[in-house]
């Protein structure tokens, strides 16, 4: 487990998010995003573990002029790890991925995750063909994260080694069609939603 406070990290990344569209993985990433940067440009996810990066990829292709940031956890990322090679092959310049790696399945009771000792998500990303990657462990390094994720030409992936949550979860809406309608209205205009 890392030392970084995950909600602080995300807050600093999104402090000046501009026009970024954000796709959070189910669980804590979803709650963190709603806590630190609630927006109609967030595509809150409540299910489909393993499909956050694919969702971000589809969105990035559909909206090439907007930055798309995927924020997810290590367990969710591991379940969809093959999608990193799809991202590399498609090479969307506007897609960024932030993995909040707490090395555990926090949502289900803090069981040890695969990235605790053996799996190195940054190395897997590199091996999948994503050339720009970084892992941050300290507050000093977090300072570079926002520019890396929101400005650098994609695809990029960052791993933040974070501690277990210290905050209570704050839940976004569970209205699935409402999430889509709100997001599409914001991004495409009312006539499309």
């Amino acid at each position: 487990m890392g030392e970084l406070h995950r909600r602080d990290v995300l807050g600093r990344v999104l402090e000046d998010r501009g026009g970024a569209l954000v796709v959070p993985g189910l669980g804590t990433a979803n709650y963190d995003l709603f806590s630190v940067s609630p927006s109609d440009d967030n595509a809150y996810m409540w299910n489909a573990m393993g499909l956050t990066v694919p969702t971000g990829l589809g969105l990035a292709i559909a909206q090439p002029d907007r930055r798309v940031l995927v924020v997810t956890g290590d367990g969710e990322m591991m379940m969809g790890i093959g999608s990193l090679s799809v991202v590399a092959a498609q090479a969307p310049e506007n897609l960024s991925i932030l993995v909040m790696d707490n090395e555990m399945f926090e949502e289900t009771g803090a069981q040890t995750g695969l990235s605790a000792k053996h799996a190195d998500i940054e190395k897997i990303a590199v091996g999948s063909g994503i050339e720009k990657t970084m892992t941050v462990r300290s507050d000093n390094e977090v300072a570079r994260l926002s520019a890396f994720l929101l400005k650098e030409r994609g695809p990029v992936l960052a791993v933040a080694k974070v501690a277990a949550s210290r905050d209570d979860p704050i839940y976004p809406t569970m209205d699935g069609p409402g999430i889509v309608r709100t997001f599409r209205t914001s991004v495409l205009g009312a006539h499309e939603a």
């Binding site: 499909l51 969702t55 292709i61 559909a62 999608s83």
Partner: protein, 174 residues
Amino acid sequence: MSQDDDGWSNEVFAQIREAGISLITTVPDAGLTRLLRICGSDPAIRVMTLSTEEEGVGVGYGAWLGGTRSLLCLQSSGTGNIINGLALPAFAESPCLMLVTMRGQEGEGNPAQFPMGRAVRPVFEAMGVTCLEAMTAEEVVSHFRKACEMAFAEGKMVAVLIAQKVVGAKTFGK
């Protein structure tokens, strides 16, 4: 039907264009080869190869969020890989359009294909996916037209299942 025409791929491609689909996601299958080749030669269409079919459900959902229409092309065995993924468009009441080439049906030379082949329809239907089974090349075309309308006009999850006899059974030398 000429040697260069399987009776449905050209027509389905025309409907892909007509429906405004600009993204094809796939784990390929022999029966999809011609359609994927035609789509891949059109600069207005992106063909995305996946590592597992499930990714196509997520990519399609994300594309829909951003205003792009997509189609997931897969073999029947791959339908088993996407079940939990289908909860995403189901929960969001968003389109999920699929074209499935069937294995494990009449003439199948590999009995290992039977279990998943039999399960496609009941499992899909349990997830809320409407299945349109095409027993002829003509039905592939007519069903695909209907499926596009159901997906993009009504926000449904819908799969056109192309019977194995339409694409030709893999016989394994038997």
